[in-house]
Amino acid sequence: MEPILELRGITKRFPGVLANDHIDLKLYKGEILALLGENGAGKTTLMNILYGLYTPDEGEIIINGKSINCQSPTDAIHAGIGMVHQHFMLIPVFDVTENVMLGNEYTRMAGFLDKPKAAKQVRKISDQYNMQIDPNALIEDLPIGLQQRVEIIKILFHDAEILIMDEPSAVLTPQEVDELFNIMDNLINQGKSIIFITHKLSEVMECTDRIVVIRSGKVVGESTPEEADPEKLAAMMVGRPVELKVEKDLAKPEGNVLKVENLTVVNKNKKIEVDGISFEVKAGEILGVAGVQGNGQTELVRCLTGLMKAELGTIEILGKDVTNADPREITEQGVAHIPEDRQKDGLVLPIPVHDNLVLNTYYHKPFAKGIVMQPDEILENAEQLVEDFDIRTPNTTVSVSGLSGGNQQKVIVAREFSRPIKLLIASQPTRGLDVGSIEYIHRRLIEKRDDGCAILLVSTELDEVMQLADRIAVMYRGKIIATVDAAIATKEELGLLMAGVTTEISPEKRRPTKVREIVT
């Protein structure tokens, strides 16, 4: 069969880096091809070349047997290529139709917009692929899952035959992911072809026809979901065997370390973000907080770490009331914080690694004597931590901005773990990291737990919470709507809780795990 898209020998060099090294790739009509690889493996570069954002140094792109020259996204769109970006490119105050027709407006004579015609077309596309989108809805009123569908409609509206989807599931709940996979099925059943970029192995196994693994700019393997298993794929991605399952013993929880009672947090606009929640975390256990992003987890963590004020309620750490204490007081209590946004809160990017490693201990001995800092001690500390935590950096004096995401996160973990701590508050500790770094950070978290540290783990990655946590609290609209034992919790149950469904579900009514027929 003739491939609809073929990449031959695509090579792209950046100063000092070979981002794509003679990549060959074929995409057939009506298939979902997974492009699997770690961050920095070259997936995004390759797709940006295909989408006309970069020009390749070598190689050619062939669509339907014809070599094309994509100089800009406009060329790519004309060639029938569309891209769903990880961050949506929608205008919140416009409605669906306006967003979809943007850049390809239907006009009546004299240049007046023909919105009804466009709306009809949007409805038609929506019905064709069962996307249930109202053309007149405002984007800002739509949940994230539906906004993503608008992005897909936008591409189809431009008559795309090949859809590139860049980590589309990163922002969705498990249920929304299932629905997305249904839509992807509908698309390929009607003759579209999809390139699906991801680093999540479970999704690759569930929804794709073929898997191409990229590492360090090269294609290192190809497989199908039937042949491959997650361990093999992970090893291919990383280049060495990877432990996917986190090995851990049963927790031995002891006394309370963190006790939160009736905590309420409101944001600047007086909207309630955390709504009267109470929980506790004991020494030697991990309490996982699951939930779709934006259900109050961020505000909860910021309040616990002193970055946001509590409206009501109390926070006690080791019996001491620290409600509305300032961040330094809380840190001095033995609390470590891995912040949700490492670049915004956790690191000072332009300054060297060694300074970032003392970001919240710089005023303590031995790093400072009086007010005079001790550069030798700070450097020594840095060398030790770089060694202990396997931080990949040319040396400790380069600025943190030059490190990869995984190594930046390791800098934070190293800093927070290197002082005596009683409580660790980790928010999205592995977001955006590659398999190798995730494995490493997970192992460190379990080690810390076994050392008797209390850990509050907040993550929107359900798999992560299920693997690491001993108990799981699910947050929905600012409330903890259930706390379940991690050993017996199922993904379906948690997924429903994350969507706010609290009614007891009987085993028969549980949604069957979706099985998809493989289109060959």
Binding site: F14, P15, G16, V17, A19, E38, N39, G40, A41, G42, R215, S216, G217, V238, G239, R240, N267, K268, N269, T305, G306, L307, D326, P327, R328, E329, T331, H337, P339, K344, D345, G346, L347, V348, L349, P350, I351, D355, L359, N360, Y362, Y363, A368, I371, V372, M373, R392, T393, P394, V398, S399, S401, G402, L403, S404, D434, V435, G436, S437, Y440
Partner: protein, 413 residues
């Protein structure tokens, strides 16, 4: 949410600051060179004789232009540094009178450099903590007038007490002028750029009122009395050389600020707040306090600059418009990438240009303002490094930082 709005507010200035701090030494030197070339062309282009020469023939025009530009810059050099041949022969002759007159331009330039150096350090310090002190001029005015007040009010004090007293009062006045916008920013979030500019106007008008009002010399209108002899700064040479101990004080302040910024926990906190206010909050740094401190200390240093001008050079205040020091200081600090030690160099650049331009105006008739245009060009090119890179075919700085990203966790770098 609040952080997001905050970061948007900082946008314009942050981007400017980032661009300038990224530029390399090569870019800065080339920018200065390009600025000089363009300034020369502009100077020639605004001169009647050049057009007459071009009327004669093209080649005469070109030679005349080149001659004119050479004359312009050589008189700028002689005016600011001195005449090299005269300096050499004076040194060989060993006659102290001759040496003094030969080195007068150089020493006078150092006098002009002094307020530039202090206000430049003041602005750089504030920048490092992420606040924009546009109010250096007002702080300098307040420092000057209040140091003067202390200089002529207290009588019969020994110099060793009177000078430090008057300087301290000037420092306090400048500090107060910095503290007010700092406090407003920390407590109400109002932007320091607006408030420091407003404080400038208050300072101008308040000092004008004082000069023609309570502080006016009973015998001479629109001027204050002279400060007492005991309050005047010690000078290194006899009149007419004016180089005074204030220049040394300024150098010491620059070194001190450098030490505090880069070697102490206080400086660490300043820089963290300046580079990433969110991370500063996360690290438990009291950023409101740092903001207030940064503007207060910045104001104090600018106040010191004013006090030194009063006690070392002017000895009295005269009703006048702005001096421009506080505004040029922003350019000086940016040019030095806010590094206090580099400020010594860039302040000298500005000081020497300002001093030399007076001689240039007398010799060639080119207005002093050409220097402002020249400085404008230099800053413009530093802020827009792409232009300099295009003109001189420089390569983009290599992004070696990408390299570590590509090595997977499996392999060592």
């Amino acid at each position: 949410m609040e952080e997001k709005q905050d970061s948007e507010k900082r946008n314009f200035f942050s981007i400017l600051l980032e661009e300038i701090s990224k530029s390399s030494l090569t870019i800065i030197i080339l920018a200065i060179f390009t600025g000089l070339v363009l300034g020369g062309i502009l100077a020639a282009g605004t001169t009647q004789e050049i057009y007459e020469a071009f009327d004669e023939s093209f080649s005469t025009g070109i030679t005349e232009s080149l001659k004119f530009i050479w004359e312009t810059y050589s008189s700028l050099f002689i005016g600011s540094v001195g005449n090299p041949s005269k300096m050499f022969s004076a040194l060989f002759s060993g006659d102290s009178q001759e040496i003094r007159s030969a080195f007068k331009p150089f020493l006078e330039s150092l006098v002009v450099t002094t307020p530039y150096l202090l206000t430049g350090v003041a602005v750089a310090l504030a920048f490092q903590a992420g606040v924009f002190n546009i109010g250096g001029e007002g702080q300098l005015f307040m420092g000057s007038i209040m140091a003067g007040w202390a200089g002529w009010t207290f009588k019969g004090l020994p110099s060793i007490i009177h000078v430090p007293l008057a300087l301290s009062i000037g420092i306090l006045a400048g500090a107060l002028w910095g503290f007010i916008p700092g406090w407003l920013k920390a407590k109400t979030g109002s932007h320091e750029v607006i408030n420091t500019i407003m404080m400038n106007y208050i300072a101008f008008n308040l000092s004008q009122y004082l000069i023609i009002g309570p502080f006016q010399d009973p015998n001479e209108s629109f001027k204050t009395r002279f400060v007492e002899e005991s309050a005047r700064l010690w000078r290194f040479f006899e009149d007419p050389l004016r180089l005074h101990v204030g220049f040394i004080i300024a150098i010491v302040v620059a070194i001190l600020v450098w030490y505090v910024l880069y070697k102490t926990t206080w400086g660490f906190e300043f820089r963290i707040v300046g580079l990433n206010p969110n991370a500063a909050k996360y690290a438990g740094i009291n950023s409101s306090l740092i903001t207030i401190l940064a503007l207060t200390i910045s104001g104090a240093i600018a106040g010191l600059a004013g006090a030194i001008e009063m006690l070392g050079v002017n000895f009295r205040a005269v009703q006048s418009l702005t001096t421009g020091y506080g505004f040029d200081a922003i350019a000086i600090a940016l040019l030095a990438k806010n590094h206090p030690l580099w400020v010594i160099v860039t302040a000298m650049l500005f000081g020497f240009m300002r001093q030399g331009s007076r001689v240039m105006q007398i010799n060639t008739g080119i207005p002093i303002d050409i220097i402002s245009i020249l400085q404008g060009f230099i800053l413009f090119f530093i802020a827009a490094p792409a232009i300099i890179r295009t003109i001189y075919r420089l390569k983009e700085p290599k992004q070696t930082e990408i390299t570590p990203q590509l090595s997977g966790p499996g392999e060592k770098l």
